[in-house]
């Protein structure tokens, strides 16, 4: 057995490494976006790529998101594999028409003749003290658009593995990067980084018997913290990290809920019309007879993302999660 040299690394470093490795392995991979070249991106995730691969491979574009994604579509039509960076979640909205009217359906409308191997990286979510329009959780919009894969990592290793898989995918992938985890450190083996394939498999981050927390992206560490805290209450919580919202891994999620009989979905995105409603419905449809209580949701409030000095009241935290777990009809067991 070989010893692996685990080193602390940040999610941002793993993402950079994923693009670098993909660009080195495949000359058709092109990174493009606002400030991704000389500056290395406002979060420095593309740091060094322009220097190493040249500005034709890592391109500072004009400041226009529809144009960035629209030209990336044309580049993909010609056989390139563009990796587009949207600078912030809310800055991606101008590109929605290209995303919905073209990116998501080019394969379908051409009967498979013209697939679009495109990766759209979007830093998303709150918790970094960002002012207005810098903290949205926009995943529900993407999930509601057939033809897109929607992926989000929660660990350093997954950040690398999922991004490599996204870039390698022949389908368009919206790659949501939890921006408050960019600087989270984790033990990682950069000498042997692993690709996570296929896209679409959830993973059990923490095993437990009492109830399942179903979550993804920035809420995964919060749920793990909640699970630790729950031990004092006598609850042994399982935490499922979805990793991919589309395709959705019904199998892993439902296997967990069937074991525990109780589930709470946790995400920053608003609850109404948010991912949690879909997930709760899917779990209920498939696991009804195993459920001891209704599937509950802990979500962001149904409000425009709040100003930074108030965001802690909005974001799902440990207490709100434990409160929801407490409402899972435990008394019925006695």
């Amino acid at each position: 057995m070989t010893t692996v040299a685990l080193k602390p690394a940040t999610m941002a470093q793993a993402l950079t490494r994923a693009m670098r490795d993909a660009m080195a392995a495949d000359p058709t991979v092109h990174v493009m976006g606002e400030d991704v070249g000389t500056l290395g991106g406002v979060f420095r995730v593309t740091d060094g790529l322009a220097k190493e691969f040249g500005e034709d491979r890592c391109t500072d574009t004009p400041l226009a998101e529809a144009g960035i994604l629209g030209t990336a579509v044309g580049m993909a039509m010609y056989g390139l594999r563009p990796v587009v960076e949207m600078q912030f979640d809310a800055f991606a909205y101008p590109a929605f028409e290209q995303l919905i009217s073209h990116v998501s359906r080019m394969r379908n409308r051409t009967r498979g003749a013209m697939p679009l191997p495109l990766t759209i990286r979007v830093p998303y979510g709150g918790g970094i003290g960002g002012v207005e329009h810098h903290s949205d959780s926009s995943e529900a919009y993407y999930m509601a658009t057939p033809g897109l894969h929607v992926v989000t990592p929660a660990t350093v290793a997954d950040a690398y593995g999922l991004l490599r898989a996204a870039i390698a995918s022949d389908d368009p992938v919206v790659f949501l990067e939890p921006k408050r985890l960019y600087w989270s450190k984790d033990s990682w083996n950069p000498d042997d980084p692993q690709t996570v394939e296929p896209i679409g498999r959830a993973v059990v981050r923490r095993s437990g018997r009492s109830a399942t927390l179903i979550t993804y992206g920035p809420s995964v560490p919060v749920c793990l913290e909640a699970a630790e805290a729950a031990r004092e209450e006598g609850w042994d919580l399982e935490v499922v990290d979805l990793r991919s919202l589309v395709p959705f891994d019904d199998e892993t999620v439902c296997a967990s809920v069937r074991r525990t009989g109780r589930a709470v979905v946790v995400h920053e995105s608003g609850g109404f019309g948010g991912p949690g409603g879909e997930i709760a419905a899917r779990v209920t449809e498939r696991c009804f007879h195993c459920l001891e209580a209704p599937v509950l949701r802990v979500a962001g409030f149904d409000i425009p993302y709040p100003p930074p000095m108030l965001e802690r009241h909005h974001l799902p935290g440990v207490d709100r999660i434990l409160d929801a777990v407490g409402r899972l009809q435990w008394e019925a067991e006695g």
């Binding site: 529809a66 144009g67 629209g70 101008p94 379908n108 009967r111 389908d171 395709p247 959705f248 019904d250």
Partner: protein, 377 residues
């Protein structure tokens, strides 16, 4: 220390020298739309090209008429006719080399057909048995694009990618006057100019965006003038003069191919028919205006020039019409057959591999279809 505090020590200096990044004068369009037919330039035009343009115009008009008739017969869901605009449609297709790419809008079925797309496959979108009926790579014709101007950035990206790969490929993107108001028009032109992408933008200014006239669309001196703001040349051309459109586009294509960057061409033309069969043009324009444009008809103009110069006789005219009739008869016959439809195709090309959710839905539809068949027995 504020400026007030350091008064005396502060020495005002002029700002760094500024000058415009490009001399705007050569980019400005000539405000007289360029014409060839009926001018001295006609003598320089290649007779073979003129005859080819003529044959394609005649065929194109017949195609429009046949497609409109098929709509009335219920064979097409809708047809946005390019009658009156055939010169732009045909010239755009003929000006390109095989390896080049055409990016048509929904009104440019004719350009796709003139480039070689099968006339029936080109109508798939409008018949409604699928969205794009042809393989875009076969003739290098992007899907007919319905959301206005959204195909323009695709053309820029494709041309840019070709250049990065070292391929000698030009993209020609078609859009209307209404489409020129869209944000994607602006972003595409800006990206094209910044990247010096080998793209030609052809705006067919046909006077109306459905019912809205150009005066409500823009306050620019002309749509071609918009080019200057992006740092690319703008050209105005008589859009009903097939020889002129072809020449202006050929110049722009050559310039793009030689690394000179993009050009914006505005072709002044007129949509003789209503927006589609579902539109009533009498609600927003008068017959007199339409009649004026019938006097400046692209086919009649070219036919007049060719016959005047002895390049076309009655026999040649008849041959072009006969070829058009043959195409129309074939189109009629094939369009009068019901297209094969397989409901299971709904799930075929959503992703490279269907998700488990789609597989479940596929199974549901298959079961419904099976139950329906059983019920029919």
């Amino acid at each position: 220390m504020t400026v007030m505090e350091q008064r005396g020590a502060y020495k005002p200096t002029p700002p760094p020298a500024w000058q415009p990044r490009t001399d705007p004068a050569p980019l400005l369009p000539d405000v007289r739309p360029y014409r060839v037919l009926g001018t001295e330039a006609a003598a320089q035009a290649d007779p073979g090209l003129l005859r080819r343009l003529y044959a394609e115009l005649v065929r194109g008009r017949r195609y429009n008429a046949q497609a409109t008739a098929l709509t009335k017969q219920g064979r097409l869901a809708v047809y946005p006719s390019s009658t009156g605009q055939e010169a732009c449609e045909v010239a755009a297709a003929l000006v390109l080399e095989d390896r080049d790419w055409l990016f048509p809008s929904y009104r440019d079925t004719l350009a796709a057909v003139a480039r070689g797309v099968d006339p029936v496959q080109a109508l798939t979108l409008l018949r409604g048995d699928w969205h794009t009926g042809y393989d875009p790579r076969e003739h290098r014709v992007a899907p007919l694009c319905t959301p206005l101007a959204t195909q323009l950035p695709h053309a820029v990206g494709l041309a840019h990618a070709a250049r990065l790969k070292g391929d000698d490929v030009v993209a020609l993107a078609m859009v209307g006057d209404g489409g020129s108001s869209e944000g994607d028009f602006h972003e595409a032109l800006n990206f094209a100019a910044v990247w010096q992408a080998p793209v030609v933008f052809l705006v067919q200014n046909n006077g109306f965006a459905i019912s809205v006239p150009l005066a409500k669309q823009t306050a620019a001196p002309s749509l071609a003038h918009k080019a200057v703001g992006y740092g690319m040349p703008g050209r105005l051309v008589d859009g009903n003069d097939a020889a002129a459109v072809h020449q202006v586009l050929a110049d722009a294509v050559r310039r793009a191919r030689e690394g000179g960057g993009p050009t914006l061409v505005e072709a002044i033309t007129y949509r003789v028919e209503a927006h589609t069969n579902a539109d009533d043009a009498t609600r927003y324009r008068g017959d007199a205006e339409v009649e004026t444009w019938r006097g400046h008809d692209p086919i009649a103009l070219l036919e007049h020039e060719l016959t005047e110069r002895g390049l076309l006789d009655e026999e040649g005219i008849q041959a072009a019409r006969n070829a058009a009739e043959t195409m129309a008869a074939d189109l009629r016959e094939r369009m009068n057959q019901d297209p094969p439809l397989d409901p299971m195709d709904l799930f075929a090309h959503v992703y490279a591999e269907p998700t488990s959710q789609l597989r479940e839905q596929q199974a549901q539809l298959r079961a419904e279809l099976a139950a329906g068949q059983e019920g029919a027995h």
